[in-house]
Amino acid sequence: MTVKNIVARELRVMFRKEPLLAIIILAIASIYTMFMGELYKENIVNYVPLVIYDQDQTEVSRALIQAFADSEKYQVVAQVLSQEAMESLMREKKAYAALSIPPDFSKNIKKGIGSEILLELNAANIVFANTIISSAQEIGGAFSGKIGMDLVESFGQMPSQAIRNAIPIQSRIRVVNNPTLNYSSFFILGVLFTAFQSCVLMAAGMAMMNEYENLAELKEVAPVKVVFSKVLTYWICGLISFFSGVIVAVEIYQVPFRGSMGSLFLLGGLFIFAIASMASLFAAFCRDKVTLVQIAVAYAVPAFMFSGYTWPQHAMNLFGKIISYTLPLTYTADNLRDLALGGYAPNLPASLLILLLFGLVMFGLSVMVYARRRKQSVQGVT
């Protein structure tokens, strides 16, 4: 039997006998991408419910409230008349932020004493907290600058001079790669790779288990050929699945892709090789297919979290870093995002090399284990 025959046999199994395998390897990555695309369609968190407690009720305080209301980041859900009512809305989660303006706010500002507003926020969910803090500072800062300008003008300075004195240093922020801090650009590709990894693990692992369950069938064929054909079949199917996932992300959900096709192909290809080889080794040590599936599913979430894709490696402790370095996803997901958003991944060559080595080691071990098991089983029979 040649490699070609085994691949054909494998495809037959996949599409006729065990369609589950075909669904897992071909469809799930795209389905996941669609899920995530739908989830993050809004892209940024807007209209955070805000409650206002204005104890001042003057023109200045209303101008400040208006500044918050005008920002699309906030939606004023209520104006309350007491501290208790404000706290209660926060407690009941009807509002996630509360703006409290003290009495004599305007008077104090005009007197030149200055005043303080209080912004209360519910930080249990950090995604809300980030949005609130950065936009509130911006709105408050702009407002303060404007009032400061008026006050400095009252010293007899010209308006343009006054603003330069009131805000002598400005910060200009330029965000590269993902200028709108778009959540779907940030997230979708990583989830695609994670789902995809589980799929390759499962499908290639189950296919290899079929061989372990029936070691005698291919006893004439060299072990390296058997493992190679398996890995090859799932490599081809995996590549199709991977590219369809990327196409869904780019075409339907407008994730930018600025990198070259060549780099994408290399990255995807070597990743699938690494995972398919790992799966074929894995198959040797699983009790049954159910266990294999259980491990593949349970592996997905930690692998994603430790890959440095969301929580950066930079902020992990030593233990976290060690785990992170052992995961193929670490060398893939971040590079994919760099390629997509920046068009260039600085760590790509090193990562490709590591994936290749990882894949080769796994492949070699898998062939060795398979050869040994087969020998044992054939000897056992005779």
Binding site: I109, G114, I126, G141, N165, Q170, S171, S198, V293
Partner: protein
């Protein structure tokens, strides 16, 4: 006493014959909590690699840089002397943030012409970007206010008065529930809940499905009694797992626990009940054990992301909301975080009730289906 018999049998099976299942149910959530507890131990992203391009080299520019260096958010990696080098650092990802101070910065500020500092941030990973943008703005406006104060002072005003003129509005921030924005507090409870459902769904589904092959063992027992006995056992195991991992996250990872034990148990019990009911349902409809384990792949990973635990529900579209409506974790994770961090969850009773109702309905559907499949298979046997 049939129910008692079923329960006893199930316990024996779980703890003696099939120990791996109980290890998975208890082990996966605990493992998740340990892994993520370690992963997020640093709690916030500090010392973001920063590159400085100071074209001014004056006392003022150094003050700005010093302010960044003093903040633990930024870690200055290098000082460069050209725009190209700076861009290169961002491109190569040796730095995530660059601070560029224009020539004549100090001179312009002193002349009263104002000037700006340019901050470039790599937005690929939103976690870096959010953290960097927020604190950069804070630092710059603090330095700016200080400088502005001096400028007005130069006009012959008293220092205190000057400061109040240039920064008339101060913003007090009161951060509730998670004042240090600790990442562990934000995420750990949800990760544990996710681990719990992964363990339960992956294990219970295939175990229920397995019983189709041993139907003659339990011929006299009604389908609903049989399933209910199983459900009770896994409910207990799941609740135990919850107790263990919650205790672990409080003791080892310092997760605050403000809520009462009764409230925690109320929502956790409802959640485990609903999840087990889903697993029983999956086990009932799946054609075989492997598929019973593989089917939930489509549910498990998106469930946490769609639950509103991280990405808020108010920023989801109809599809996302629809998905979060049917995922038990969407009714549990947010409540458990509120209970842990705040001691009070506004939707506790409503959500617990929803989970129990959904669980009961699903369980009834499952027992009808189970009875039908059982009668069909016994007909076939005859």
């Amino acid at each position: 006493m049939k129910l008692g018999m079923i329960i006893k049998r199930e316990f024996r099976k779980l703890f003696i014959d099939d120990r791996i299942s109980v290890i998975l149910i208890l082990g996966i959530p605990i493992l998740y909590v340990i892994l993520f507890g370690i992963l997020y131990q640093e709690n916030s992203i500090k010392y973001i690699p920063t590159v400085v391009y100071d074209q001014d080299q004056t006392q003022l520019s150094r003050t700005v840089i010093q302010a960044f260096a003093d903040s633990e958010k930024f870690g200055i990696m290098s000082y460069v002397t050209s725009q190209e080098e700076m861009e290169e650092c961002i491109r190569k990802k040796t730095a995530q943030v660059s601070i560029c101070i224009p020539p004549d910065f100090g001179k312009n500020v002193k002349k009263g012409l104002a000037s700006s500092v340019m901050i470039e941030v790599n937005g690929s990973n939103i976690l870096f970007a959010n953290s960097a943008i927020g604190s950069a703005q804070e630092i710059i406006s603090a330095v700016s206010a200080g400088v502005g104060q001096k400028l007005i002072e130069a006009g012959g005003k008293m220092p205190d008065e000057s400061l109040k003129k240039v920064a008339p509005l101060r913003m007090g921030l009161r951060v509730l529930n998670n004042p240090t924005y600790a990442y562990t507090n934000f995420i750990l409870a949800g990760m544990g809940a996710n681990g719990l459902q992964v363990g339960l769904i992956l294990v219970v589904g295939p175990l229920i499905n397995k019983d189709y092959r041993r139907l003659d063992e339990l011929k006299e027992v009604a389908s609903s009694t049989l399933l209910f006995g199983k459900l009770l056992v896994y409910w207990l195991c799941g609740s135990m797992a919850f107790a263990v991992y919650t205790l672990l996250s409080i003791v080892c990872f310092h997760l605050p626990c403000q809520g009462g034990i009764a409230s925690l148990l109320l929502i956790a019990g409802a959640y485990v009940f609903a999840v087990v009911a889903i697993a029983v349902f999956v086990g009932t409809i799946a054609p075989d054990e492997v598929q019973a384990a593989a089917l939930p792949l489509l549910y498990i990973m998106p469930a946490l992301l769609f639950s509103g635990y991280i990405w808020p529900k108010m920023s989801m579209n109809a599809f996302g909301l629809g998905f979060s409506l049917v995922a038990p974790i969407a009714y549990m994770a947010d409540n458990i975080r509120d209970l842990m961090l705040n001691g009070y969850a506004p939707h506790l009773w409503r959500d617990s009730l929803t989970l129990y109702t959904a669980g009961i309905v699903l369980f009834m559907i499952s027992s009808v289906l189970f009875r039908w499949r059982r009668s069909r298979s016994s007909l076939e046997q005859r």
